[in-house]
Amino acid sequence: MAEAPMLRVENLNVLYGDFQILWDVSMTVGAKEVVAVLGPNGSGKSTVLKAIMGLTPVRSGKIIFEGEDLTKVPTHEMVARGISMVLERRRLFGAMTVRENILLGAYHRSVNKNTASRLEWVESLFPILAERRDQIAGRMSGGEQQMVAIARSLMSRPRLLLMDEPYLGLAPRIVSQIASIIQRINQEGISVVFNEQNVHLSFGVSHRGYLLESGRMMLTGTGEEMIHSDVIRRVYLGV
């Protein structure tokens, strides 16, 4: 890659107490790229995304986004940097309405101008949410909640969107719907990094992937390369 990547993670180490969760993790994400982070449950996928977002303290290593080191930037300033995130299990504001949830996505001062046009754009991606706008978010189905969560994260018009297991707990029909939404988002010029346990699900939409095992990056490559790799077979099939 000639151009510097949009996001460069270098030798990231994360500990919870005395427990090391990530070991020298490195990865890159280019502009307008979709990258999947794969790995079994507990391998540290969420921790990688949380560390980028500042939700988890970093022991050492660098997280360079568009030339700036993010390791000291607090979570609530990430939106202003152009990064947004869909948390694992959606984490909506369950007692608030769909509309309130979505509007909160544009809470930060750096993105709270032109709210109407942002809302219009987001609702064009998810027409159903315009119909459901007064519904209490916590009472919706899992698939609808995931849409609200994505819609909320898009209100700030990020350049990089982090998605923690966007398919988790969803019916297959909904999964393919979410997958096509990820492609739509990417077509709008937004880079996406998402986590997934299932190898086959993740390569439907991503350009490249990384494989995490026990907090270490084991492998990177295109979907084709990775699916046929021995490492994947060892990690997933225990061969």
């Binding site: 607090p74 939106v79 202003a80 948390l87 504001f93 369950g94 750096s110």
Partner: protein
Amino acid sequence: MTFSLFIEQIINGLIIGSMYALVGSGIALIYGTMRVLNLAHGEFYMLGGYLVFFLVVTCGVPAYLAIPIALLAAFLLGALIQRLTIHYLLQREGWAFSTIAVTLGLSIFLQNSALLLFGENVQSVPYYVTGIVEFAGVRIPMQRLLILGVAILTIAVMTYVLKATRLGWAIRATSQDRDAAAVVGIPASRIYLITFGIAAALGAIAAAMMAPIYAITPWSGLPILFKGFVVVILGGLGSFPGAIVGGLLLGVVEAVGVQLTSTEWRDVIAFALMIAVIWVRPWGLFGSKS
């Protein structure tokens, strides 16, 4: 007892209950947003009372000026205390207990600071308004009606703030999910600071309104703290509307209970009600089990 006297007692219960509601809603806001049980909340009430006393009686400031100044001072004090103690504890392990313990320490510290500053004499403030309203044989002093009016106004303002302002949205979002709120750009620590200040000010409003009818002493915080606890248990710990309803309910139950027994048992009635509610509906009378 005549029927109109009974009605009078119920109305008085509602009026006192509206003050319980203000104190309880402060405890609920703090718990709701940062999951901290504030054992020093009664002292915000107590200090609010002394601030008003100091301004009105000692300095001769008119009440309509003194009360807003007292509220502002209480807000700043609450925010400062949060910043110096809770703020750090929340970042450590074991915060659920350490925050309770530190507010316990703060409670006696503030109580005894007031004792040093103001002495143990019972203080009070003259009525803000005089006169009695009579309607169908029911007689209510204007002062008590003023209390009710201020309580309703405060609750209306708070409801508006929570529902319709940027700050209110941020408070509600943070209380529902702090991480998700941070992701959309809401700084939890600032929201906590402001919430603590608001809660302290709510306690001070109650104190300002009660100052003419209940004596101010360094120890007046503790009983009102206990009342606030009963209120938040009735309404569901952490729920603002629950605390309002819980406060009014407690006021009325106490008024009726005292009629049936005697004044000394007022607090026992309140606590028994609370333990009964915890026993059958630990999530409060109005909330839902989640």
